[in-house]
């Protein structure tokens, strides 16, 4: 995709977001809430002040990884619905490794724990990749199912082997040397966001500049042609799923090591699934994962204050998010509305 197309796609996305917010405004008004209160809180909660900005970044960080994970699999024509599960195994593995390696110097400890989280995610990504390559089992089904396996397996492992004594099922707190450094004091903004951007850059480089990336793209475009051209579709499928899983695993690692400082079962409010939305909005361009993740982080963060101070239920916020996906991902619907609107203005008949 050329730069010119990227710009027009970006412009289109901005317009789609604005339409989504306007339709959302109608829904908010119909539900009996003040649109003004809602959107001023949404905006201030996402961007008004240091803490709001920090919260937006904190909430964008895991979405950056899960979004990248799903977007990367898209490039190979694979739909990884399993980011949520990969996130959980990555999170627990990092927590356990970070706790177990207390004797190592901090930097080494953090690096190894991150790699272990990525490794665990890759391993969980390998399973659906292999099943698809060898048995033709569709990755959507297998990854969805593995989400349950991963979520409950981690819960079980924490309860049985890694539980902090006390009423809550969770691991003990990571010592400060096992945590990702805090970038802004008093917030939970950690090195994770930088790692996320670096991961986008790295995967983008792999996709555009390496043989592996080229082969993965060819398989994504047309597996038959790829096979004919001597690229092993099954090998690329397994590799792409493993990379995708590794990145999703890192989402969990970064959340545990940079934000929560411990593993808590069911900690994720669906980062893996929101990652799908991020990837859909980003489309074919991996760099676009960054603004898309920040958009959803901002909606989450602003949604909090909308809930707290405008009294608007989180469900309405989730609906607005759904509208954003709908309008951005369904250009046909968007342009249909445009035409209706323009026709109405010109003809004066509809409004």
């Amino acid at each position: 995709m050329g730069p010119k197309q990227d710009v027009s796609k970006f412009a289109y996305s901005v317009v789609a977001i604005v339409i989504a917010l306007l339709v959302g405004a109608v829904l908010i008004a119909v539900s009996g809430y003040s649109v003004k209160d809602a959107y001023s809180n949404l905006f201030m909660g996402a961007f008004g002040g240091v803490y709001s900005l920090a919260t937006t970044i904190v909430m964008s960080t895991p979405l950056l990884f899960t979004g990248l994970s799903v977007a990367f699999a898209f490039q190979c024509g694979l739909f990884n619905v399993g980011a949520e599960g990969q996130l959980y195994v990555g999170a627990l593995t990092s927590a356990v490794v970070a706790l177990g390696l207390g004797w190592l110097p901090p930097v080494l400890r953090v690096v190894i724990a991150l790699l272990a989280g990525a490794g665990a995610g890759a391993l969980l990504g390998f399973v659906p990749g292999y099943l698809k390559a060898k048995l033709g089992a569709h990755e959507v089904i297998t990854t969805i199912m593995l989400n349950y396996v991963a979520t409950f397996l981690t819960t079980f492992l924490v309860k049985t082997y890694f539980k902090d004594p006390g009423p809550v099922d969770q691991t003990v707190l990571l010592p400060s040397g096992s945590r990702l450094p805090e970038l802004i004091r008093g917030t939970r903004v950690s090195l994770g966001i930088i790692l996320g951007i670096a991961a986008v850059a790295l995967l983008n480089h792999i996709m555009r500049r390496s043989v592996l990336g080229y082969e993965i793209r060819v398989v994504g475009e047309n597996p038959h042609a790829a096979e004919y051209g001597g690229v092993s579709v099954s090998a690329k499928t397994v590799q792409a799923m493993m990379i995708s899983g590794a990145v999703a695993g890192l989402a969990g690692s970064v959340e545990v090591m940079g934000t929560l400082y411990r593993f808590i079962p069911h900690f994720s409010p669906g980062y893996g699934f929101t990652g799908i939305a991020v990837a859909v909005i980003a489309g074919q361009n991996l760099w676009a994962v960054i603004p898309a993740a920040i958009l959803f982080g901002a909606l989450q963060s602003g949604g909090q204050t909308m809930q707290l101070f405008a009294g608007i239920p989180m469900e309405l916020m989730t609906m607005v998010q759904g509208l954003v996906i709908l309008f951005v991902a369904a250009p046909a619907l968007g342009s249909l509305l445009f035409r209706l609107k323009i026709r109405a203005k010109e003809g004066g008949g509809l409004e």
């Binding site: 809550v168 934000t259 900690f267 204050t305 809930q307 101070f309 445009f338």
Partner: protein, 347 residues
């Protein structure tokens, strides 16, 4: 491109307009006392813990003239930022955390805002500005256990399926807090009826009604007449099972009678509404007390509802409840202690 540019301009202007309006209208705090509450992850509509806390807030709004804002987190990861956002405004007289899994987040936030008063219900946070309200869980287990132990002998009742005298309890998670409830339940049932057999199990999740229903059916298969669901939202599944097979269920935390009007025998009430109300009242009267506040039947924070309980059983259980409230009966909090305790009580 042309097709897009015009609407783009229109909508950009609209967006800017909406945002400018929003920023210009930031509201000014009212003079009434203002409270904030962060619910547990089950959310409102759990017909139990959170709903009960909400009732307490509403009553304080009417009777004490407060205003309040609320937050419904979807996952544990959100607690801290929600508490932080409330605390940052510095306009709340009290910020209330509902549920034991908020302890971590509240620990952090309470340290960062030492002048802000906090209260947490159902667990203890050790900080000079946090009032922790915890329950003598075994006490309510004891009263509903006593009701169960007595009703299971009434074979004339169509919901009592056999004369085997088996009652059951399903807990949400195998944790000390729930185990204390189970211990109290066993103690209560056996205290009033030495012949009774008590079965118990744990779902392992607060919000898995399907699994709870499965476990409830297994217990009903074994001849359980009365089943207590101390399992948060999961309990809804167990209540359904009891209703479908026309046995007695006992609800938890708030009055769940409307879920199965002919089958909810009573409810093991955790009067979170009274607790929340108490916490607010304490702040308004300038009697805010940091540290652990233990609440039980005596404080009006635990109890049972009369619902379908026959009046003679109510009379008997009320006598027992009074003994518990006065401290004459000290209910064991551990399942292993129940038998020795019964022996010591001469049962």
């Amino acid at each position: 491109m042309n097709r897009i540019r015009k609407p783009l301009a229109v909508f950009s202007v609209a967006l800017v307009a909406v945002m400018v309006m929003g920023i210009a209208s930031f509201s000014v705090a009212a003079a009434k006392p203002r409270m904030a509450i962060v619910f547990a992850t089950g959310g409102l509509g759990d017909k139990s813990f959170n709903d009960s806390a909400y009732e307490g807030m509403k009553r304080a709004e009417e009777e004490l003239g407060i205003e309040f804002d609320q937050a419904e987190p979807q996952a544990v990861a959100e607690y801290e930022s929600l508490l932080m956002r409330f605390a940052q405004t510095r306009k709340y007289d009290l910020i209330i955390s509902i549920g034991f899994d908020q302890a971590d987040a509240l620990q952090v936030v309470s340290e960062r805002f030492p002048d802000q008063k906090f209260a947490i219900v159902d667990t203890a946070v050790d900080a000079p500005n946090v009032a922790s309200y915890v329950y003598k869980e075994a006490e309510r287990g004891f009263v509903v256990g006593a009701v169960a132990g007595l009703i299971t002998t009434r074979t004339g009742d169509p919901r009592i399926v056999s004369d085997k005298q088996i009652v059951g309890v399903i807990g949400g998670m195998d944790i000390p807090l729930i185990r204390a409830n189970v211990a109290g339940y066993i103690a209560g049932a056996k205290y009033v009826n030495p012949k009774v057999e008590v079965k118990y199990a744990y779902v392992g999740h607060w919000a898995d009604p399907a699994k709870c229903k499965e476990m409830a059916n297994a217990m009903l298969d074994e001849g359980v007449d009365v089943l207590w669901l101390a399992a948060g939202r999961s309990g809804l599944g167990g209540i359904k099972a009891a209703e479908e097979r026309n046995r007695y269920a006992i609800g938890a935390d708030s009055d769940q009678g409307y879920l199965a009007p002919d089958n909810i025998l009573t409810n093991g009430m955790k009067l979170v509404d009274n607790t929340v109300y108490m916490a607010i009242e304490a702040v308004l009267k300038d009697e805010f007390k940091p540290g652990i506040n233990m609440l039980g039947i005596n404080e009006g924070a635990l109890g049972y509802s009369e619902s379908l309980v026959p009046s003679d059983i109510i009379a008997e259980v009320d006598k027992l409840a009074a003994k518990v409230a006065s401290g004459e009966l000290e209910v064991p909090e551990d399942i292993d202690q129940v038998e020795p305790w019964l022996k010591a009580e001469g049962k």
